[in-house]
Symmetry: C2
Subunit: 270 residues, 2 copies
């Protein structure tokens, strides 16, 4: 099967890696919307406009299903994406997380950390309480983690201090589990685990990128067979830094191709 | 005089504030391109396309001169902006800094810190060495400072640690002066001064936002009189966080208006 995966940037390559690890026969068409990142600070309308164009592009490129690796786009553009994809399957980070949680419920209170737009949407708390009425869900925006990770500061003492400031927020006090609701956060999983271990606070950490990949692989059509053709990686803006980031998230260097930048419904020529 | 001032986001409001302080009769038309921020990670071509549309918009709105508060746009889009502005005066952060330096030369070696795109352009070093051949200029990208400042972490211990990592880079060792080549950095001026004071290292700090405002005011047409009409502040994307940031940079709350988002040469309707 050929899967179209997109993200605001290159963090979604982690999700793509998980999918390849679970289902090596899948072919990946990846789109990183680097011309418009970060999505996490933008308005829902803006993110919806970008997502719609990207889905259209990936389907035209041959995608038989769409994976929305970006939590922000999953939070505010799921409906737009489903409409655009028509009869093709769509997996988004939020629906996938819910599906995995239903199979194996998390302990509550549950903390959720992500970007401003994801958290402000309130979508995780809403979806979880729709299934487990009265469940305690504390959502906190932790916007500095993405730039710190992208700059390679995941192990820097400053990152530990900032994590401490975020994770010690009163709203997250006493949580029994924590959902990392952003593509980038798996890269600071160890630092987060260390935070709770040092305090002797048992807290199970869930990683939405991994839950999404599991949901994709669980729901792949039974007849799925290996697909010929290379994995392809497009970005809407290219700099050397994006190439470095891609290598960091994918685990080895990959060829990034410049996609036509779709903006406001109009295709721009490079 | 009515001045059109633009920036990738809201940091340029600091420059606008300096200009108002020096020349209270000036009317400000401000454009923060929040739909496309940050510019500092994007390619020169992308930044040029945005800058061109914004200048066109500001001139149509009545600007009699253009101030490019954004160092990134100043670094990579000066030519495009001058062409678009035709016979109207244009002040950009880099030309202004040079002009002020020529009047009062900085001590060398000079360090320059800014975003990736500003630093990668090499424009400051190039312009300074064109005037002072052989001058030692060390340019360093310090991309985490903008998000830290925007998140209100200017005084957080993590910011001091990150500043320490940046300022102790071998290339900045032994500098006699340091140019803050980003609209946001004045907000961590004290932390930077403390870094050098604690080490007993005499280092004069220059602030490009202030140098730009000085250059604007120095070069205002002699006949400039006070202008009727309110200052107006447009943003290309609006969230509550942008309103908070605007208040932080301007010093008090201001009304942000949604501008038509110009993308790829096409006007989008909201």
């Amino acid at each position: 099967m050929t899967l179209g995966i997109f993200d605001s940037g290159l963090g979604g390559l982690l999700t793509a890696q998980y999918i390849k690890a679970y289902a090596p026969g899948v072919r990946i068409l990846y789109y990183g919307d680097t011309a418009h990142l970060p999505y996490g600070d933008k308005s829902p309308q803006q993110v919806q406009a970008y997502a719609q164009e990207i889905v259209r592009f990936l389907l035209e490129a041959g995608a038989e299903g769409i994976v929305v690796a970006c939590n922000t786009a999953s939070a505010v553009a799921r409906e737009v994406i489903r409409t655009e994809a028509r009869d093709r399957p769509v997996w988004d980070a939020i629906t996938a997380t819910l599906q995995q949680f239903k199979a194996e419920p998390p302990a509550f209170p549950l903390g959720v950390i992500g970007t401003y737009t994801t958290i402000r949407s309130g979508i995780y708390g809403e979806a979880i309480r729709a299934y487990w009425p009265g469940a305690q869900v504390a959502e906190l925006a932790t916007p500095l983690l993405v730039p710190l990770i992208e700059e390679g500061f995941a192990d820097h003492p400053a990152t530990h201090l900032i994590l401490e400031t975020y994770l010690s927020a009163p709203s997250l006090g006493g949580i029994a589990s924590l959902l990392l609701a952003c593509t980038h956060y798996p890269l600071i999983l160890e630092a987060i685990e260390r935070y709770y271990a040092q305090r002797g606070q048992g807290c199970r950490i869930y990683n939405s990128a991994q839950l999404l990949a599991q949901a994709v692989v669980t729901n792949l059509p039974a007849a799925t067979s290996s697909v010929q053709g290379e994995d392809t990686f497009w970005v809407s803006d290219y700099t050397e830094r994006f190439a470095l980031l891609a290598a960091r998230f994918w685990g080895s260097p990959i060829l990034l191709q410049k996609a036509p930048a779709f903006v406001g419904g109009v295709e721009r020529k490079w």
